[in-house]
Subunit: 444 residues, 2 copies
């Protein structure tokens, strides 16, 4: 088969083999391919590509140590808002805005059909949360949560793997013990992970341990078959500043660290998911903890949101936390849109969310990667200094938006903008330095 | 006169007098008035209130150590865009969105008239940059920069003081020596402060030292007359990441520290202005430097912007830098709007800019002030957990926006939103904990 890989990245890497995908990651990251191979062999880098979903027009996406910080955009229907075309528009917008991956989090309508369309249309890796499918299928069939069996949870992951999903969130670390800890401790926000709260509900009602934890070896076997990256979900991520870095969250992280090791040994690629709502002064601690407890596995954070009080602006709240998280070592930022906490996002929200996260990622990369990232700022600022509007705008993170604003109020002097007009500081200081040059020459 | 104070805050504070303004600051900050008095006596806190502009309906605004981080919104015309009514709308929007102060940076039209209208309409302190008036007046009269005399610079400050301006930016530290340093060193962005570039131009053309530096004592005499707070401007603030924390910037900061000391001794309230474009990893250093070099005077930063490449989204870029700056000790954030670097902002830009800065300020205050600030998040999150949409929305940083988004896609189940609908994690985990409660009781 042309469009199927025969190897797993991590196994190849351990044998010293540099795969095509490693070469492609190395190219876009401007790294030696040996470094990428070594990172994968150590479990510190992953490449999202299901063996069954190899496409020529799909952008390669490596995540982890030494690589550019990546951005994921969540799309997908909800039971209240089912419009597959709109979700495909969101996918297109996410790609246009520069997302490195998308997750289809659909929980409304025909999930399989929507997923197939998204996988088919995507030029970037696609992730999912198979547990949503489990929940939704049973609710749609009118059977409810109690009818769900342990094997249904594994079956959903296998099904998503078969369909070509590149990475899946599995809340493996959410044990009965951790749920009990949360209950005893009390929480401002409770369990805010949708998958986590569903799993916890199932576990408590059935009095059974989390099947993704109990049958973790079986899960690994499935993941291995597709080279499916497991994104070990944080079902107990804090959903309020008050809950950040609490016992429940860290308890789960410890378990995720154990599971990461087992996955790594079994040759399955893993990333670890992280918070959530975290005050500014706890972000560094959260990154250090993940890196220590989870053997430097790539860290995939949702936000972090540095305040609870700004619905409508949570893309900004998350950009603040995300920039800081990435600067301290988070590898993969899940975007948050202005609609977070309020409604399913619109197509325009997707753009706002992706750009805000990309700003955070780049601001961090300027520090993490040095000139490789800073080059963009430097070239950009040269154009700005020269008032070269055309080049400035085309080099902007969102040229369309920059153009739109600039054109919105056209200046009367070409090489300025309406902020300062002829009192433009760039123009003035250029003249000043010329004057100094002249002055010096005159004196000679 | 009813609306005129007879004392200066700093002189009263030194005599151990607690003024009405100190009491009002203490009330809104939930502090003992003695702490506010002591902060002012030490030059670590300022209160913006021109003796001639005391109004009953004007909100008190203290800035400095131990106080809530404040937000300033820049408004004002440019030569290319003169519409006084629009600027008054911006003022109103800034106040509605929660700005603590505004600066009228007008450089187009009848500046005196626009300023008078803004001062008259404002319910928050008003700042200006008198040097713009100097530049504009001479250019409008067709005389040009060369006709401007040293005394014109001081005259403008005096005039603004007479008119009731509460604080003025004066670029006192921009010496010929510093300009020469910048020229010799070279810069990606040159001089990006509008006032700074104009002053430098005048200095170089006339071969004279900065009059605000030369006649600093005269400036202090004027400031004292009105209890006008001097905002010592950073004419050499970096306008590109490449220029951050360079010799020119720090040279100027050293001079500002010397001048702060002279002002403090003379009984004049001072804040120090800071950058600008600064990479994430240099923000803490910039705050420590200012606090050390300028005797813990309040720090007023513009941004900082953590990347150069995102025009159209510079409110987000600045929120990232501002949050970090404030968390490390910056006291006063100057907002940046989405239109920064592209055009004069619109009324809507003003809202976006103020909210983004307020998010940054609050995220920092959660760390700096602890529960006093975190209370808001905690109460908010309790409503969120209970799916109390009415209270959540009314407690949001921008209730109008939150309402608008929530209403944009109404859920089919009242106590959820369309993001998850009936799969709402708050609902599910509430049920789970109830289940556990029941289970335990049954077992007993």
């Amino acid at each position: 088969m042309e469009n199927e890989k025969r190897y797993n990245q991590i196994e190849a890497a351990r044998k010293g083999i540099i795969t095509d995908e490693m070469v492609r990651v190395a190219q876009v990251e401007e790294l030696d391919a040996h470094i990428v191979r070594e990172g994968i062999a150590q479990g510190e880098i992953v490449i999202f590509e299901n063996k069954k979903n190899v496409k020529d027009d799909k952008k390669i996406c490596g995540v982890g140590k030494g690589l550019r910080t990546k951005v994921n955009a969540n799309i997908g229907t909800s039971r209240d808002w089912i419009n597959c075309d709109e979700e495909l528009e969101k996918l297109q917008m996410a790609e246009e805005a520069g997302a490195d991956a998308v997750m289809d989090l659909s929980t409304g309508g025909n999930l399989k059909e929507i997923r197939a369309k998204i996988i088919n249309a995507a030029h970037i890796p696609v992730g999912t949360v198979p547990v949503y499918e489990v929940l939704h299928t049973f609710c749609e069939q009118g059977k409810g949560i109690d009818a769900i069996k342990e094997e249904d949870f594994l079956r959903a992951v296998e099904q998503h793997g078969e369909e070509g999903v590149d990475f899946v969130t599995v809340h493996c670390g959410l044990t009965l013990d951790a749920v009990m800890k949360i209950k005893n401790q009390g929480r401002r926000g409770g369990i805010v992970s949708r998958g986590g709260s569903f799993l916890a509900h199932w576990m408590v009602r059935q009095g059974k341990e989390n099947p993704y934890y109990t049958y973790f070896d079986e899960l690994l076997t499935i993941a291995k078959r597709f080279d499916l990256v497991l994104s070990l979900g944080d079902g107990l991520r804090p959903g309020a500043l008050a809950d950040a870095t609490d016992r429940g969250q860290i308890q789960e992280l410890i378990v995720l660290g154990e599971l990461q090791k087992r996955a790594f040994e079994a040759g399955v690629q893993v990333v670890i998911e992280g918070p959530g709502h975290v005050p500014l002064d706890q972000i560094e601690t959260n990154i250090i903890l993940e890196k220590k407890l989870c053997n430097n596995a790539p860290f995939y954070v949702l936000g972090p949101l540095v305040t609870d009080i700004a619905p409508g602006y949570d893309h900004i709240v998350s950009a603040i936390g995300g920039a800081l998280a990435a600067r301290y070592g988070a590898d993969f930022l899940c975007y948050v849109t202005p609609s977070e906490h309020l409604r399913l996002p619109t197509v325009d929200d997707v753009r706002e969310g992706v750009i805000a996260s990309r700003i955070a990622a780049h601001a961090a990369d300027v520090v993490k990667l040095g000139n490789k990232a800073r080059r963009w700022d430097d070239v950009f600022s040269s154009y700005r200094q020269k008032r070269d509007w055309k080049r400035q705008i085309s080099l902007s993170i969102d040229p369309k938006k920059a153009q739109e604003l600039y054109e919105g109020k056209k200046p009367s002097i070409d090489d300025t903008c309406t902020m300062c007009g002829e009192y433009c500081s760039y123009r003035l200081s250029e003249k000043t330095f010329q004057e100094m040059e002249k002055g010096e020459k005159t004196e000679v």
